[in-house]
Symmetry: C2
Subunit: 432 residues, 2 copies
Amino acid sequence: MKTLDVGLVGLGTVGSGVARILIEHGDRVAHHAGQRLRLAHVVVKDKAKPRDCQLPDGIVSEELDRILDDAQITVVAQLIGGLEPARTIMRRLLEAGKDIITANKALLAEHGPELFDLARKLGRSIAFEASVAGGIPIVTNISQCLAGNQIHSLSGILNGTSNFIVSQMEQDGMAYDQAVAEAQQLGYAEADPTMDVDGSDAVQKLAILAQLAFGARVDWREIPRTGIAGLDPVDLTYASELGYRIKLLAVADLTSTGLELHVSPTLVRMGTPLGEVRGAYNAVSVVGDAVGQVFFHGLGAGQMPTASAVMADLIDTAVGRTQLTFHTLDLWSDEATRVELSDPALVPGRYYLRLSVDDHPGVLAEIASILAEQEISIASVLQREPPTSESPDIPLVIITHTATEGAMRAADAAIQNLKSVRGKMTQMRILD
Amino acid sequence: MKTLDVGLVGLGTVGSGVARILIEHGDRVAHHAGQRLRLAHVVVKDKAKPRDCQLPDGIVSEELDRILDDAQITVVAQLIGGLEPARTIMRRLLEAGKDIITANKALLAEHGPELFDLARKLGRSIAFEASVAGGIPIVTNISQCLAGNQIHSLSGILNGTSNFIVSQMEQDGMAYDQAVAEAQQLGYAEADPTMDVDGSDAVQKLAILAQLAFGARVDWREIPRTGIAGLDPVDLTYASELGYRIKLLAVADLTSTGLELHVSPTLVRMGTPLGEVRGAYNAVSVVGDAVGQVFFHGLGAGQMPTASAVMADLIDTAVGRTQLTFHTLDLWSDEATRVELSDPALVPGRYYLRLSVDDHPGVLAEIASILAEQEISIASVLQREPPTSESPDIPLVIITHTATEGAMRAADAAIQNLKSVRGKMTQMRILD
């Protein structure tokens, strides 16, 4: 049986997982790859750092040249995070003739077009299954398994940290800060969880999926996003009373006015597959014109689930499938047909609204007439007695029928001007 | 752009769906295939029969030779059901040098080894995504996307007809015959639903998945199966009270005593992904050593979901991925390492038991001591007053802790001998 020499750049959590599979499960990898994958060299930043995997003597160094100069190593898993030196290393690896596997979503969201163009120019390939949704093979499913479909929409829970935090808030009535602290303690959230909770991580992943599903070449910073940091537990309670859960949802939707992309806390009906995704799990629901709805659920992060995705790419590249897919799909290419993004103001959707209002007659009528002026119909209303007898404010929850975002913005502005409304109106989308 | 000539044998429900995508969505198929797929010829049994798709003039005939003799047609979707003439046609197509796509699970379950050997010998490929779980791309996910894993277990709802029938019984309290009649009326069940409801269809699909996931070359007739025909609505009610739904589950489980395969009505906990699969949907849960649990859900049958799977195979074959996968994996090969099937008697599991017993003291003690003799622990018991005052029999429901199937059989035999037990004991597995 043939042997293929594989290089590894980075031996952090995911890199160690990949190394373990290559070393401990060589036979089964060989069965699927039709050849033995030999871990020939591993480049790390600090050789002295203790690692959680046992490697053969002499294969670890701090010198990238050991991989670049080794013509036997034709496939490299580049598993370091951040933009630099990741970008430069990837360029050098491509220029040295290596096919690349990466898990670095930030790098692809930021420099995908440049790196893919370079790989194409050099006749090399980049595989990136591990960059989105960890163990869920969503990249291959969209670019290969569902290739007979026009994808109509894609809705995903792509950030396990946020989903864990919101699940904790919902199940145990925790406040946001407390849930974040628990997520950090359990290792689900970083010391600085900003990228997770502000929606940046989900938006970067959505940009990659939108490229695959719709050929949309979009700057991730331009995708509208709302994170979970401002989430009030009271909205989880009302949502639950109305039969919904709140999920940080990444949505790509092909509408009559163009492609709509956004990440925001969204009400998802209980009992539906996306509504039942708990804890640190990820999930993606894809609707295609032929297949209907297909739903994928699995661990979106963690050492071995992510290593599973990297291994799939390594095997695909060893077999030669990746190269065929990469050169057929022309991802992030200037020559690819562009998809127009829709004007957010025209995007239709249903909304959950919560306001604090004065307890006096006519308030609901005022609000209802503003909504009516914008042609927003009310589907249901929940009005409660004040939380305490001293409080003069009444919580008012409204679920709308379908309305455009533009109409909702106009209504919001008018409602904020009402004397009887206290503070800002909370508004969230509802997934239909 | 290059053009690839594609042949179609069979223009039934699925064939018409595939023809429609090829004809109506040529551009997007070309984008994913890197070449145009031209429907060059369609062979049918009866040219005069009306079809639900518009085909270009002159491309439909009743002569297989029109495809066999056309060297330009290198890829053929063979979409006819049953064993003959499907098998002979597939042999002739392979011998004429065509790569094949098929949706015929019965043919693969029955003649897979012969056909795959022939394809290998001739340097051709057979793709069969559409043969299992319709629109869910489970074949590619197991053989490619999860290739870095040792699959530990696989649990699937692979027969949408049965799931629809059981869902109707559960939701609306319908009797089995009534639910079957409704499924037939809605087009979910054939006039003769035997293969669906007796578990044969699910077992054939399980045999294909077991081959992919475990290399298990097994005769589908040897896989233990129980269908849903004997399902008593009362068990759905008790299961529901205990927090479970009953699903016709196909299970492949790699245990310490070997691979366990079976299809049977099984209690699945509510709120889990498999427990929430309703109506005619299919779902598969796969557990791998690296990825953990991944769950797939989608439409398991129907014209366009199945056509979606066929199109994925057509595109994979056009791109060249199928050929690489087919020749690497060595499916159903005599040379592949065999997996031992476990002795069913040694297979551990939890059980749901329901008995009808005399209403006299000591009955529960008798049954409990028989179970104890077989080292079967009781997890919970549900004993009710008799359904009617005239009825002397009491329903008794027992949920066990883990026990082997052998112990359960021995206990069953001993319990049947008790004078105080009426009729046969109902027993079903519980999915952990």
